[in-house]
Every structure is written in structure tokens, then in C-alpha cells.
Amino acid sequence: MTWSMNLSRLRGNARLYAKLQLIQLRTVVEYRADFWIGILGASLMHGAGLVFIVALFGQIDELGGWSAWEVAVLYGLTLIPAGLRELFADGPWLLRSLVNSGEFDRLLVRPVSPAMQVATRLASIHGVGQLSLGLTLLILGTTRSGMDWTLWKAIFLLVSVLSSLGLLIAIGFLVNMIGFWEPSAQSAIPTAYAMLIDFAKFPLDIYSNVIKVLVTVVAPYAFISYFPALVLLDKETPWRWLGFASPLVTLLAVLLTSWLWRKALNRYQGVGH
């Protein structure tokens, strides 16, 4: 296949992705009560988190050497990709039910990659809340903590947000693929794993070694907030260089996920005979 063919293929896929996703978003808006309840629930959830932070910094000035505004940057860096993922690729969270109900059959007889069909299967409007809260915190945090903006920092920020988004999508697939191996409708593992992202909202310095390893290696959420923040805020630590490794971590996660995804597709048993 030539480059131009690949490129037009990519463009076609991007357009289709947007169309499929738009339908999900419209569906959300169609169920009006559900929509507002969802917005309310999401606001309460993130509001509670904020109240906690504000109360915390009412008592202390620094947390592991990080000021309140610097922690706001971590918060922002965590919420932005999480919001984008929720908005544009929440589908993997339906994967287990698709597999268990046999609905997954249908995706396999359409001429679009099943991964894309799964990703666009759900769009959560709650993502808007996370995203705007995240942006607000990031902007406030970076200005109030006296960070100097340069062009290259802006580019770095953009790249690391995109790579964080990639990582979160890969993780969404990874944890929910358990349905192909263990066909039980409920499992706490995916949720528990995803919840570890809360650790990324605070500086790694305050955690025990176990948790440090957990959020760096096992569930590498530190690569979406803590390590990039070390670069953005010019923190002098020996680990600063890991901020540049985020795209690499994402790449590894994506490779692992797509390898397992292919195995999962070949393993898919459907339901009934």
C-alpha cells in the first residue's frame, strides 16, 4: 500500500470515528433527565475532590514539597486526558457486557476495525465537566505557581496530554479485555485498576515505595501527571527525565494492548452454539 492510500484511509477512519462518536453524544443528550443527573453526579464527585484539596491546603502550605498551585497542575494534568477519554473513547467500558451478551458478534461482521467500533460505542458527556475543571486547574496552577510559559513548554504540554490520552485509552481496553478470558459480568479488577488514577492527582513524593512502584510500573499513571509536571514546573529531582518518557510508556502500553487485543479476538467464543 502506498503512503497516500494509507493517508486517505486514515482520514476516512478519522471521519467515521467522528460520525460514530457524534451519534453517541447525541444519544446522551436525547435522554434529558439522565443527562442532567449525570452532570450533577459528575460535578458532585469532582467538587468533593476539590473541597478536600482546599481543606487540606487550609491546614498545610506544602505537600511533599509541592505548593497548592503545583498540586493543582497535577490535578489538571490528570483530569484533562481523563475527561477527553471519557468524552471520546468511553466504549471499552462496555466491552465486558458486549462480550457477555454476544453483541460483540455484530462488530466482527462490519468492515471497520472492532477496536474502533468498541471505542466509539459510548461517549460520556461527563467528560466535559472533567475536561473543563482540568483546564481551569491547569491554567490557574501554572500561572499562580509562577511557571514561565515558553513555546517549547506549550508543545511539551500538548504532546504529553495526547500521550496521556493514548495511555488511558489503552488502559481502558486492557482492563476490560478480561471479559474475553473470564466471562463473568462483573469484576472489580477493571474499576479498581482505573481508580488508581487518583494517586496521580498528588505528588509521588508523599507515597510509600509500594505505591510509587504501583503507579509507575503496574498502572503507570504517574506518567500522565507527576513526571510531566516535573518538567513543566522545572522541579529539580533525579527523576525529572521520566517526564520525557511519557510517549514511550504510551507506546509500550499500546503495543501490549494491541497484541492482547488480537489474541482476545481469536479467543472470542460468543454465546450459545
Partner: protein, 346 residues
Amino acid sequence: MDTNAAPIIEAKGLTKHFRRPVKEPGLKGAVRHLFRPAYADVVAVEGVNLSILPGESVAYVGPNGAGKSTTVKLLTGILVPTSGRVTVNGLTPFENRVENARRIGVVFGQRTQLWWDIPVGESFRLLGDIYELPDETYRASFGELIDVLDLEPLLRVPARQLSLGQRMRCDLAASLLHRPPILYLDEPTIGLDVSVKARFREFIRYMHRERGLTVMLTSHDLGDIEELCDRMVMIDNGRIVYDGALSEVTTRFGWERAVHLTLTEPDESALEAASRALGNRPGAVATQPEPTMVAVTFDSRETTAGELIRDLATALAVTDIRIEEPTAESIIRRLYEGDLVFEQAE
């Protein structure tokens, strides 16, 4: 039909085994499974050979759990076979899922492929995008399907508000929009009323005859099979037990006949009397489904209805006699029930 044409669907030694977790009942069993999982190997399809020519219409039948759906899932590329080979349109479906999907249409009777919350018309347009149909092709294909299936009034209705019959019509259109040469229908008429069923069959017949669509149908509705298919493949316990013309089934088991006798009054001893009267007739078996009814099945190669009636009429007080000719439907039903058995297919 060109009998020299290469098969459009071909399976050789197609086999699928499932791994099913074995759990003891209750929470204790579930916990034990968690730590020491045990699995059983379940054979769903075993060594299926199938060759379908372009333009054929094939009914794939068999009792529940025989392996029908599994075969269809193997042919459509949904499942990966344990062993054996499948070729559809010259492709191996599970290796070329995307390419394969462009050239087949699939209707699952119990599932819709329409988007639940958006108007049907928009689902069609989205499918046009998914199949990357050029505008012209889309318009022509869409126009024809709307016309033949009378979908115009439904285009603005979200799928969730459609009746089952309306939904089935829309689903048919959705699976043929990209003009595939093959259509798989998996239990398409489940739950449909008689008139909707008739329209559905008429449409499939039209696409089959006029458009040369290759149709593979699994159904428990024997009407679907008789009206739509010339060829029948029967599977039982994962193996093909019959593959041939539908009409041949009647010839093959045509000797199986029955005489139904209505008695003047309920009679407990009628069955015994009938059996005694039949005593030396080979292959004749009497049953008494109701107190006032006696049915005798017999082998027309061994004995005649006339002889049987003569024997029975003297032994029982009979008001009415009906002789049952075998139909494909009755034979298939009895094959399902295990009353009749095919010798292993040659």
C-alpha cells in the same frame, strides 16, 4: 445456476471446540473455580464439509445445540475454527474480517444492527459510511430497498420505537445496503406474525431469484425452509447428517406413513386390541395419543394402508380414518425428535 462455477462458500473439515469453565454449584464452587479453574472441552462442530455455489439457497437446519449458529459464526468470521479450513468469496473470513465483512450481509433474528436511539434513516446513512459506499451506489441501493421493503414511513423513527416486524424489514435493508453477494440469515423470522413472515419470504425470494443472492438460512421455521431453500443441510451433534435437495428428504423417508383412526368412544383397551390385530405386520407400530384416537405408523414398503385398515377396522369401533402422507415438514420434525435417523452422510 452454473454448476461449473467455483463454490462461493467452502468449508473443509471445519471443527470448533469450546472451552467451558466447569464450576460446582453455589458460591463455594465459584470460589474454588477462582483458585483452581477447571475446563471442559465441548465439541460444537466437528469435521464439517460444505460447498455452496453462487446463487444457491441453502437451509441449514438441526435441533437446538446441534452446531448451526456456531457454523454460521465460523463462516462469517466471528469465530476462529479449532481446525479445518473456511473460504468465503475466496477469503479466509477470520483472517480478513474487514474485507470479508464488505462482501457478506448478516441478519441475526434476535439482534438489530440499527442504532437504537437515532432515526432509521440515519442508521442507513451511517452504514453507507461504514461500508464506504460511493454516493451513487448508496442512493441506488437505498432507493431500491426502500421501495421493495416499503420503508419510507419508518425512516424518521428511532429503532427503539419500531415493532418487531418493522425492525426486521429495516434490518434486512441494513444488511443488503452494500449489495453483498451472500446473505446469512440466522433465525430471521423468530417472533414475526404470519403476514410479516410471508412478506419477508417474498423479499428474500425476490433477491435470490432476481439478484442471484446466495442465501444461507438457519431456521426452526420449516415454512421458511420449504419456501426459500432448494437445498437442505442438516447438522446434528456437530456433524452433517444430510446434505442434498430438500425434495429428496421426502423421497428418502417417503415410506414412513401413518393411519389415524378416530374411535366411536374412549376405549382404554383400544391400543392393546390394535397391537393384537397388527400382530404379524412388520414395521407397523400403534400409539394412542388420545383416548379416542389410535395412530399406526407403518413402512409402505412392507405393507399397504389397505391391509392395515382391514385389520384394524374389524378389531376396533372406528368412525373416521385419515391416511397421512409424509411432508418434508413432518419428516424434519421427526428427524429432530430422533424418531427418524439418517445413516451417516456418505
